[in-house]
Symmetry: C2
Subunit: 348 residues, 2 copies
């Protein structure tokens, strides 16, 4: 197909924007910055790591000797519950608004030297259960609860201990607000939730599927911007992570392990990424009709060519339009063909 | 003011979106990834550098012995003039479009070891003249001509030789399309171009001004997302870079040198950034009324704390909303108070 070798634009229906796909750009040599590969020997327990069980954090609090997940308040939160109203001067070019919220950190496991693909399925289920619990609790009042994981130093993650963050806010942030509008418009126009229809189509087309199971589907979306970006979708219509059944959670844990193992196998490195969940808004929105929403997770990994060469979203991407250097189908095929056994298990 | 210490949201009228300002976040310690400082000893001429005068490039062409600016076609272009139509399957979730264009590289100077702040004002004027010429030429047919500079390895720039890129496209990319809509709406509603009104207000308020001259103004915009982001604006209503008078170009060269010297002085390092120009669309848009547009340049520098610690736009920023760790007023004040003499000149 012409799209495999020639540049073209693709439409992202979740963001109402376009991405430039320039498949032929992978041919150019790379003499630019290389990233340090991640640290190989992380101690299971480090007495100075504020995320480890039993250690003392910046604020003097002592972590319990937790043996599964552990949630605490971020010691340097970007959102606090009691910020005052900034009192905008009301000029249309100088508008401000109050922002309130909470920032939590959630450890996945007591060990610093483990990652999700190496955790046992029931241990990953505990992570999912805790995510659901946090969305339920914080979502009872806050309109948006953002669960996200920054993994790897290249993604600004300053601590190797397996963890994610949960930021709940008094406002609907830009990205979910845009996604809400796009899903609502699509639903109104086509009578079916956008991502439900999309999952069905992708399951049939198969060319962008990376892994699938009875309840879940992971694809490199047609409109992917990051080289190996994926979208993880339930097959059933599900609004929020706390609506998942026990069976769906167990199946999710299994497919996450499979997807992340493939990611690690791609360049034989603990794969860096930012990931996060988007589901129907909460708080005051719980009373509204949100049937246009479908729960999903985005994985945004930066690596392009190898364990040390990432895609730079700079210059043209910042000022004009996102641009990718291989097609989503090429990326999906590479990931799909990788073994589901972790390269580190094979080494041992 | 409460906005100097407490988190709040600010509205970006050029992108119709919000940024989360969490001033207090600078207090958190940083134990994460540090960047390599830029190479200190770049040879003036390197026989293997494809951007130097007289050298042979990837495609076998030999560069002339240029003594000012030098423009050539990118050897690995993301946009080519003859890409075929992808022939979309027309399903609303699988939309594609043709993308055609040209990618040019422009060297600023024959020396690899010089940067814009060290070039003489008439040399920088030659760069501006060439920018204007390229917008005039490529803009006669292409709807958008994006001039951008990626500076520094941390911004994905793989060659230390001072240069920028110019990508012209058969489509209006996302960012200028959004900016066009925002400026048009504002103009219709308020009867004056958005950025013309903004420059007047900022010149009066002064707290976000970094440098100014008789024809130009550089501010940390009220809605800045990157820590030391700036917006460079003419005071007169100017649609495109090729509309600038000789006097305005000379004044622009001078203010660019002053701004970039301050940037270098901030962390005493050759300051990395992506920058680019936005002006009224061209090609078929030349016949339309574009009086809502105002020419401007965006500077997006990544450094946050020091020459080696950048701001990571990851996790929450990618999935929810951009977030900054100091206020635009704090950033402007720091930049404003820096000397206009380059730290390297003082060393000598
Ligand atoms: O063309 P260059 O400088 O090799 O490449 C750089 O700039 C391009 C345009 O912003 C980006 O797409 C690339 O990711 C980046 O590495
Ligand atoms: O809170 P952390 O992990 O220290 O910080 C990291 O994630 C945050 C949320 O995505 C970002 O704002 C920071 O730039 C990044 O370094």
């Amino acid at each position: 197909a012409a799209t495999a070798i020639h540049q073209h634009l693709r439409y992202n229906p979740l963001r109402d924007s376009w991405v430039l796909v320039s498949a032929h750009r992978m041919k150019r040599p790379w003499a630019g910055q290389v990233e340090k590969p991640p640290e190989e020997h992380i101690p299971r327990f480090d007495p100075r790591n504020p995320l480890c069980p039993g250690n003392t954090r910046a604020n003097g609090e002592i972590n319990p000797n937790y043996d599964s997940t552990f949630v605490f308040e971020n010691d340097f939160p970007a959102l606090q519950p009691d910020a005052p109203d900034p009192g905008s001067d009301q000029h249309p070019l100088f508008q401000s608004k109050a922002a309130r919220g909470v920032c939590k950190v959630m450890c996945f496991h007591p060990w610093s030297d483990i990652t999700l693909p190496f955790m046992k399925t029931p241990e990953v289920v505990k992570v999912i259960d805790k995510w659901a619990e946090l969305v339920e609790d914080l979502g009872s009042t806050y309109p948006w609860v953002q669960i996200f994981e920054n993994k790897g130093a290249v993604m600004g993650c300053s601590n190797p201990h397996p963890h994610c963050q949960v930021w709940a806010s008094s406002f609907l942030p830009n990205e979910p607000a845009l996604s809400d509008r796009c899903q609502r418009d699509y639903h109104q126009k086509h009578g079916e939730p956008l991502l439900l229809q999309y999952a069905k189509q992708e399951a049939e087309k198969k060319e962008r599927v990376v892994v699938q199971s009875s309840h879940w589907l992971a694809v490199v979306p047609y409109w992917a911007t990051w080289p190996y970006q994926t979208l993880l979708l339930p097959r059933r219509h599900v609004l929020r992570i706390n609506d998942l059944t026990a069976e769906e959670r167990e199946d999710l844990a299994a497919i996450m392990k499979r997807l992340l193992t493939k990611y690690d196998n791609l360049f034989e490195v603990s794969f860096p990424y930012s990931m996060g969940w988007h589901g129907a808004p909460t708080g005051p929105h719980l009373k509204e009709d949100n049937s246009h929403w479908q729960l999903h997770a985005h994985y945004y990994p930066p690596l392009l060519r190898s364990a040390t060469v990432k895609k730079f979203m700079v210059g043209y991407e910042m000022l004009a339009q996102e641009q990718r250097d291989l097609t989503p189908e090429q990326a999906a095929e590479k990931l799909r063909n990788l073994p589901e056994e972790h390269y580190k298990s094979r080494e041992e």
